[in-house]
């Protein structure tokens, strides 16, 4: 069993590394297939200056050579090269600055989604087919399929424009409330539905009946048996949740003008800042891949009934 688990972890780890390598490769070659170099948009550059710039950034070498250098820099020094449009700043520095704000929003949003999602899901399962269950299910069904940019625009409209109780600009601490709510509502709905269905499943198990027959108190059954076991499937949602929050944050940061990594990414696409686009894609993708790996492995540890293949 132990060696099987180890084998599984190694296999997943290998796949994760291959995936990240694929991300780097795809990103690199896709960006280099785009016609028109990064300096095309700037008109007032003489050929000599352009040649000098290209030499400085290594753009005069062949594409495979550039790829090897790029890969080597990332692996050995975690260096994604300099940003082309923000003079004198490294890509990793720009990303690092943005990531501080974005990570804050993301972590708070995930925490809210987890806590409220589990509580609401458990309440819905325990009061199955009662009014409160119906209300919870209606709202979560609506929120699950609502795109993040629509949710964000609505919240902006209601709380910042009409009621004026929260700031629309996300550059202050208070301004982060709306982005956090926007990002947490959809994962929250997912977790609620996941918890509800797995809780209903657990409540029908024999060991719950056994516990009841033994005379275990209701609260103990709820927390010790039912909730503990019904939270295991929620672990599998950690990876997709991070992916949702990362992609959601791209638009949400644009809507609320949050100085985070998402806003940087969107503006780097319009500015054609290739190193920044590549660096951001790779780092965010690696984050998601690693989170998927961690949640899958945790899941195997949490439920011994799961068979390994």
């Amino acid at each position: 069993m132990k060696s099987k688990l180890l084998g599984y972890i190694l296999k997943r780890l290998l796949l994760a590394i291959l995936t990240i390598l694929a991300v780097i490769t795809i990103t690199f070659f896709v960006m280099h297939a785009v016609p028109g170099g990064p300096f095309v948009s700037e008109k007032a550059i003489s050929p000599e200056v352009q040649a000098a710039l290209e030499k400085k950034y290594g753009l005069d070498k062949s594409v495979p050579e550039q790829y090897i250098t790029y890969l080597k820099d990332i692996v050995t020094r975690f260096d994604f090269g300099p940003s082309l449009k923000m003079r004198g700043r490294d890509v990793i520095e720009v990303i690092g600055n943005g990531l501080k704000t974005s990570a804050k929003i993301g972590v708070i949003a995930s925490a809210i989604a987890l806590v409220f999602g589990i509580v609401l899901g458990a309440v819905a399962a325990l009061r199955r087919n009662k009014l409160i269950d119906r209300i919870i299910m209606i709202f979560t069904t609506a929120f699950v399929s609502m795109p993040s940019f629509i949710m964000g625009s609505f919240l902006l409209l209601v709380f910042a424009v009409s009621m004026k109780i929260l700031p629309a600009n996300g550059s202050t601490a208070e301004g982060l409330i709306l982005p956090v709510i926007t990002l947490s509502l959809s994962p929250l709905s997912h977790i609620t539905r996941l918890t509800r269905s797995s809780m209903l499943d657990v409540l029908g198990q024999d060991y719950i009946r056994t516990a009841k027959a033994k005379g275990v108190s209701g609260i103990k059954i709820l927390f010790g048996h039912a909730l503990k076991n019904s939270l295991i499937p929620v672990i599998t949602y950690f990876g997709p949740m991070l992916a949702y929050i990362v992609t959601g944050s791209l638009v949400v940061e644009q809507i609320f003008a949050v100085p985070g990594i998402g806003g940087n990414f969107v503006s780097s696409i319009t500015n054609r800042d290739y190193p920044l686009i590549m660096g951001t894609t790779i780092i965010l993708a690696a984050l998601i891949v690693i989170m998927n790996l961690v949640s899958d492995i945790l899941y195997k540890f949490a439920d011994p009934r799961i068979t390994l293949e």
Partner: protein, 353 residues
């Protein structure tokens, strides 16, 4: 009567007319039903799915028919007339307001078709833009799912049927594409394809009308989303090819292609249709997301995502311009999802209990 084994002597009793008691056995208690009919019956019993289906049909029909009847077009700037100075009174009209020349017409007794949702900042009738945007979203969702279906079906059935090395290689590639963070890759590819020579490559062909950005959306979908479909089909085929009827077909000399097209695909079609139906809302979602980021359709063509994104600029004065596309997207995605769930409940035999 004694029977001799070697005579042709027949049993006369076997030719008597059937008695009423014997006829009872032949009465059909319930007309026989096909898998499809049975599923449809179950689908129509599901109220949520039926209502969603009607919502989708109404939306689809109205965005097919309305543009033919509407007197304005989606790109027509009402204040811009050839040979005349631009009439700014047409820009940013509120619902049921009219531009200056239209007011004059009304005053002289002529009737003018109302702008029931007003006009946008460039003086274009907003209602028809919403209708066109919906049309684009639905079309992108539908065709993208079709592309995903065809690609996934081909690769999945090849991998599933031939197995061995072919399967191993295909599935490793699928594994890697599957674990790529799809949205980030979609954004990257969409951003790159916009800058590529696609627009000039399709110039003069039928494809030009669709617009290079929508084509690149299709390419993005084709590249990334076929993997889960091919996984599904491969799994189906792996379990189906162990069935006895496949063995018997092979025993009678049927070849690989015949077995795939006549036995394996028809038997896995239910699951495939369900997952295609559920693919449509996710494609619509992706399209509106990209359009919102400015990576979607080419201007002046509207899409629900780009309409919502444009509306953000005037959000305090014209909030309805954001609310309308937002409600339409949510309605489409929600009803498609609910309908897909209903399809799954009705057609997936594993869930029938």
């Amino acid at each position: 009567m004694k029977k001799f084994p070697l005579t042709l002597h027949l049993n006369v009793d076997a030719f008597n007319p059937a008695t009423d008691a014997e006829k009872e056995y032949m009465v059909q208690m319930r007309p026989s039903t096909t898998f499809f009919k049975d599923g449809m019956k179950r689908l129509l019993k599901n109220k949520v799915a039926t209502v969603s289906m009607f919502v989708i049909i109404i939306i689809a029909l109205s965005c097919l028919i309305l543009p033919m009847l509407w007197p304005y077009s989606y790109a027509e700037q009402l204040g811009v007339k050839l040979g005349k100075p631009v009439d700014n009174s047409y820009n940013n009209l509120l619902p049921f307001q009219y531009g200056e020349t239209e007011m004059a017409k009304i005053a002289s007794g002529q009737s003018v078709f109302p702008h029931i949702m007003g006009t946008d900042s460039a003086g274009r009738d907003y209602f028809i833009r919403i209708v066109y945007g919906t049309r684009i979203s639905l079309a992108v969702g539908f065709f993208a799912s079709l592309i995903v279906l065809i690609l996934g079906m081909t690769v999945g059935s090849v991998a599933g049927y031939y197995g061995g090395k072919v399967d191993l290689i295909i599935m490793r590639v699928v594994d890697i594409i599957y674990s790529l963070p799809d949205m980030l890759m979609v954004i990257l590819l969409a951003a790159a394809l916009r800058q590529s020579g696609l627009a000039t490559a399709i110039e003069g062909t039928v494809l030009e009308k669709i617009g290079s950005n929508i084509i690149s959306l299709f390419i993005v979908f084709a590249l990334l989303y076929w993997v889960s479909m091919s996984r599904l089909i491969r799994g189906q085929i792996l379990s189906l090819r162990e069935q006895e009827y496949v063995l018997s077909a092979r025993a009678t000399g049927a070849r690989g292609r015949w077995i795939v097209t006549k036995h394996l695909i028809p038997n896995s079609i239910g699951v495939v249709i369900i997952s295609t139906a559920l693919q449509i809302p996710s494609a619509i979602f992706t399209e509106s997301y990209l359009s919102f980021l400015g990576l979607g359709v080419n201007a002046p063509m509207p899409s629900l995502g780009s309409l919502a994104s444009d509306a953000l600029n005037g959000i305090s004065s014209y909030p309805y311009r954001l609310i309308i596309p937002a409600v339409v997207i949510s309605l489409i995605v929600l009803s498609l999802n609910l309908f897909g769930d209903g399809l799954r409940d009705a057609f997936d035999p594993k869930l029938n209990n």
